[in-house]
């Protein structure tokens, strides 16, 4: 009986996926290729099905199909599919008080944005004047020279504003005694993993297996190779040739050689650039040239304040402008709202009455940037020469991971859960530090929040950061961030215990450039729980 049900649900899923694939942009090209195969000599009429399947296998069409299914399943963790963490996730936020908190936060953002518009006498969006359009077209590859006065613009919000919002959330199911639960996130009863569950998730790290990020010159397991790095490169090239996304994902778990990272990430995320992508990117560029949005100013200002001042990323500012301006016009990004607790901000068409028909999503991507938003994209600049490759991989990463870091939700990978996980791990496994923080009355999450919300971008040197993001992508989980945060605090424990102000603690943690991130993670995950 159970088997029957299972078969039926697989059958239904397969049917649904087939329908969906037919709607996809890749379908036309794929179908054409299959037709070409059918009319070729590889496929025989008498032995149609096996010979066609065989031919598809030989030409890589089968793998392409497998990849398409893989990516679809990852993007649709509904009742038919489970997210890789195993939890069944409803598509929108199931917990009411969190949903309300997010809605309130969105209202505040919207208010802040519209009042900025009124103050500066701007509209949310308008067509560009001809001269402006010409200037932008000319300066497209060097937008840092595009002259624009941004002195009046301020970011809509910063990470610490968002943290304040999170800390104020109260669960109606939890009555605190004597103000208990106001100091940390324990008043929000979300389930997070224990250390042993994390060890099973990050198995390869926890088992002490040789990882590329620890020491690339380690001897290889196979004597044919000079060292671990050479071995990983050889294996990685085979993985790339196979072009099968789940295999590429598995490969990332032990660390990715720098020279192959761009290709492997694109395979795992399904963001390799094809013709339809080129068209789409051109279209986005056209939109940027056609109309001007207030969000553009915010993004440009953000790049100026963050990446342009950063000695690791300043070189790439021109590329970043292109990426961020196109991103804000990309309606594909709206798909994240199917899986998230938030809803995009809407704006009213000018001169029309407030009604559903007259409101449009603003900006087209539905994402309002905050201070440091462009840092989600900066590390990708090290991986790709061409803006278009950078764009699609960044966008895929954002749509799978980054959006969860700036919304209120109960999702296991959401920022709230990550903060809670951080606190649990710190309290449980570093009780001396936890007590110290309590005694000096500083909430530990305040110290690490900016790391978590930005995915450590801007806080670690690019090569270490990319090693860390290999782990995120390989295990399909952001839970490595709180683990790293605890590991860093533990590593600098003595210095932290010596000081008693927030300023001094931040000074101890200001420079993380000497850390070997993967080694630190392996140390933490191999440790036995106290």
């Amino acid at each position: 009986m159970m088997d029957d049900l299972k078969d039926k649900s697989i059958h239904l899923t397969a049917q649904m996926i087939s329908e969906e694939i037919r709607q996809m942009p890749m379908y036309r090209g794929f179908y054409n290729e299959v037709q070409k195969l059918v009319s070729s000599s590889c496929v025989s009429n008498s032995n149609f099905r096996p010979s066609l399947l065989n031919a598809m296998r030989q030409t890589g069409l089968e793998v392409e199909l497998r990849n398409t299914v893989f990516h679809w399943l990852r993007a649709h963790p509904g009742p038919q599919g489970r997210a890789s963490s195993g939890a069944v996730i409803g598509s929108k936020e199931p917990i009411l008080f969190l949903k309300k908190a997010q809605a309130q936060w969105e209202k505040r953002i919207q208010k802040s944005l519209t009042s900025m518009c009124t103050e500066l006498n701007q509209v949310l969006s308008k067509c560009r004047a001809g001269s402006d359009k010409d200037e932008m077209t000319e300066k497209w590859t060097e937008l840092s020279t595009y002259d624009i006065d941004l002195s009046q613009y301020r970011p809509v919000y910063a990470p610490k504003d968002f943290l304040d919002v999170l800390l104020w959330i109260r669960s109606p199911n939890h009555r605190s005694l004597d103000g208990e639960g106001s100091w940390d996130f324990s008043q929000i009863p979300l389930k997070v993993k224990t250390l042993s569950e994390l060890k099973s998730l990050f198995q390869e790290i926890a088992r002490g297996e040789p990882l590329l990020g620890v020491n690339p010159n380690m001897p290889a397991q196979n004597n044919l190779y000079q060292n671990l790095e050479a071995e990983r490169i050889a294996l990685g090239e085979k993985v790339i040739a196979g072009n099968h996304a789940p295999v590429a994902q598995e490969f990332l778990k032990r660390g990715c050689p720098k020279c192959l990272r761009g290709k492997i990430w694109a395979q795992v995320l399904g963001s390799q650039v094809k013709e339809e992508h080129v068209e789409h990117f051109e279209e986005l560029k056209l939109f940027v040239l056609q109309y001007d949005m207030i969000v553009d100013k915010l993004l440009i200002k953000d790049v100026q304040l963050t990446a342009s001042n950063d000695d690791q990323y300043f070189v790439f500012e021109d590329v970043l402008y292109q990426i961020m301006l196109c991103f804000s016009r990309d309606t594909e990004v709206l798909k994240i709202f199917n899986n998230s607790s938030s809803t995009p901000v809407t704006g009213l068409l000018k001169g029309k009455n407030p009604s559903f028909e007259n409101s449009i999503v603003f900006p087209p991507s539905g994402v309002i940037p905050f201070h440091g938003f462009s840092m989600y994209a900066t590390p990708f600049c090290y991986m790709y020469d061409e803006p278009i490759n950078l764009y699609f991989t960044f966008r895929a990463f954002y749509m799978r991971y980054w959006f969860r870091l700036h919304e209120v939700s109960s999702h296991e990978q959401g920022i709230l859960s990550l903060c809670l996980l951080f606190e649990r791990l710190l309290q449980r496994h570093e009780p001396t530090l936890w007590t110290h923080f309590k005694q000096i009355n500083i909430q530990p999450v305040k110290v690490v929040f900016k790391w978590l919300m930005r995915g450590f971008s801007g806080h670690l040197p690019p090569d270490q950061l990319l090693d860390l993001w290999d782990v995120v992508l390989g295990y399909d989980s952001l839970e490595i961030f709180p683990i790293l945060a605890v590991a860093i605090l533990s590593f600098r424990k003595e210095n932290i215990l010596d000081v008693d102000t927030l300023q001094n603690i931040e000074a101890v943690l200001a420079d993380l450039s000497s850390l070997s991130v993967v080694a630190l993670l392996q140390l933490s995950l191999m440790k036995d729980s106290i």
Binding site: T141, E142, P219, Q226, D311, E317, V319, D385, P461
Partner: protein, 461 residues
């Protein structure tokens, strides 16, 4: 005995390093052990007229005739002479291609000294009349007096306009004119050059160390090779002094990107082997430039010197030596810069001083591995000679470590390693002789192989 230091430069990165070691500051006329001097002071100290004699417990931060390396015209002269010498000896290093270009020694752009080589320059210029050339005064620094020309007529124009009539026979100030590298590697659309610090503690035998924390200096304006842009110095010259006055200069990063990040970018976007080859060629470039002047340098045992090497990488990932500075700037433009220069001075001190911290000319100038800090050994001819003399001249613990079959080995010589294949083995009495051949045919391996055995060659002849 406290070490007494003297310094011509009151820079915090220097003084704080000296004071950290418990040294006391004295004036130049007093008994100093360690002098961080400006080049003019050095000229006086070393000049025959001054009659100044240094004692065994004094160290100074310049070689007497460092200008053989650091003056643009003398550097070119020495490199040209070095190449000719190698060619005469029949060294494999001096091998040329069919077109006549050196295969392994082509690391400076075609350069002529003016006014002396004016006619040779014109001949070369006429071979490619569309090329751009860069004129640099020999004695100046920080980008002063440099300009670009792309027409011979412009040079004639300059020669007419300058105060001293440009007569090849009587002009006093010399210039060098080099083929401009018009296809530089760009990152983010911007041109950059590499600044690397190289410490030399001795020229004969050559002992040179490369500071691993080099950086790229970026232009603030986008690079545009269009002719009209020739006059926009901000796009072309990467000297920080010039860039500092450009409108876009940012003092938070100072236009500097670390070599580590450059490597990350190149490996990720161009691949590992081409990146390794680039950095190997950079090391070779430095070694060859030092060898080129080694024979004419006064290798005074009191001296050490930290040079600032300026290198440009072209779009084919080939490095070009632009110039060598004797007094690289110790001014810090950003916080990271200050930290870097502090580490630089600190590591220099631990390398040039004997373990007890007091300068001593009798010390063998062989620092321990820990003393190197952020420096890596480029070449120590002393150690290399010792390696050759000893019985275990090719280290077979290479194969033991990697557990590889014994016909493949790594040969290590004072910081270099080359993978070789053993062709045959013979016994001569107690000695085991191995005939080896380099394993791969990549250019970087050939250069390494050549140079690794270059030392042997020199000693034989």
């Amino acid at each position: 005995m406290r070490v007494a230091f003297c310094t011509d430069l009151e820079k915090s990165v220097l003084v704080s390093n000296f004071e950290k070691r418990g040294w006391i500051q004295v004036g130049p006329d007093e008994d100093w052990n360690f002098y961080w001097a400006g080049t003019i002071t050095c000229r006086n100290i070393f000049s025959v007229d001054s009659g100044y004699r240094m004692n065994d417990f004094q160290a100074i931060n310049h070689f007497p005739n460092h200008y053989e390396l650091t003056r643009k015209d003398l550097l070119i002269k020495n490199i040209k002479r070095y190449r000719k010498e190698l060619e005469r000896e029949g060294s494999p290093l001096a091998e040329r291609s069919e077109t006549g270009r050196y295969l392994h020694l082509d690391f400076v752009p075609i350069t002529f000294i003016l006014p002396a080589d004016y006619n040779m320059f014109v001949e070369e210029y006429r071979k490619s009349p569309l090329s751009t050339w860069i004129m640099k005064p020999c004695g100046k620094s920080q980008g002063a007096g440099i300009f670009l020309i792309n027409r011979l007529s412009k040079l004639k124009k300059w020669s007419r306009e300058s105060k001293t009539p440009f007569n090849p026979a009587i002009a006093k100030e010399s210039y060098v004119i080099s083929r401009y590298i018009d296809n530089p590697l760009l990152i983010g659309g911007k041109k950059f050059d590499l600044r690397l610090y190289v410490l030399v503690t001795s020229f004969r035998p050559l002992k040179a160390y490369l500071f691993k924390l080099g950086f790229c200096r970026f232009c603030t304006v986008k690079y545009d090779a269009a002719v009209q842009e020739l006059d926009n110095m901000f796009a072309h010259l990467t000297n920080v002094s010039v860039q500092r006055h450009g409108g876009e200069y940012n003092s938070m990063h100072g236009g500097k990107l670390s070599v580590q990040n450059l490597r990350l970018y190149l490996e990720s976007t161009r691949g590992k082997s081409v990146t390794e080859r680039l950095f190997a060629n950079i090391s070779w470039l430095i070694v060859h430039s030092l060898r080129a002047v080694a024979s004419v340098m006064a290798s005074d045992r009191h001296c050490f010197e930290c040079y600032g090497y300026d290198i440009i990488i072209d779009s084919k990932l080939k490095p070009w030596l632009i110039e060598v500075n004797a007094s690289p700037s110790l001014t810090s433009t950003t916080v990271s810069d200050r930290i870097l220069k502090y580490k630089l001075i600190s590591n220099i001190l631990s390398i040039v001083l004997p373990p007890d911290g007091m300068p001593d000319v009798r010390w063998n100038k062989t620092p321990s591995a820990e003393a190197l800090g952020n420096f890596e050994l480029l070449l120590d001819e002393d150690l290399a000679a010792q390696d050759d003399a000893g019985p275990s001249s090719s280290s077979s613990h290479g194969s033991a470590r990697y557990g590889r079959p014994s016909n493949r080995q790594i040969i290590r010589k004072s910081g270099w390693q080359v993978a070789v294949r053993v062709v045959s083995t013979r016994k001569r009495g107690n000695l085991v002789l191995r005939c080896v051949t380099p394993e791969a045919t990549r250019t970087s391996d050939v250069s390494r192989y050549c140079s690794s055995f270059f030392v042997l060659w020199q000693r034989k002849s």
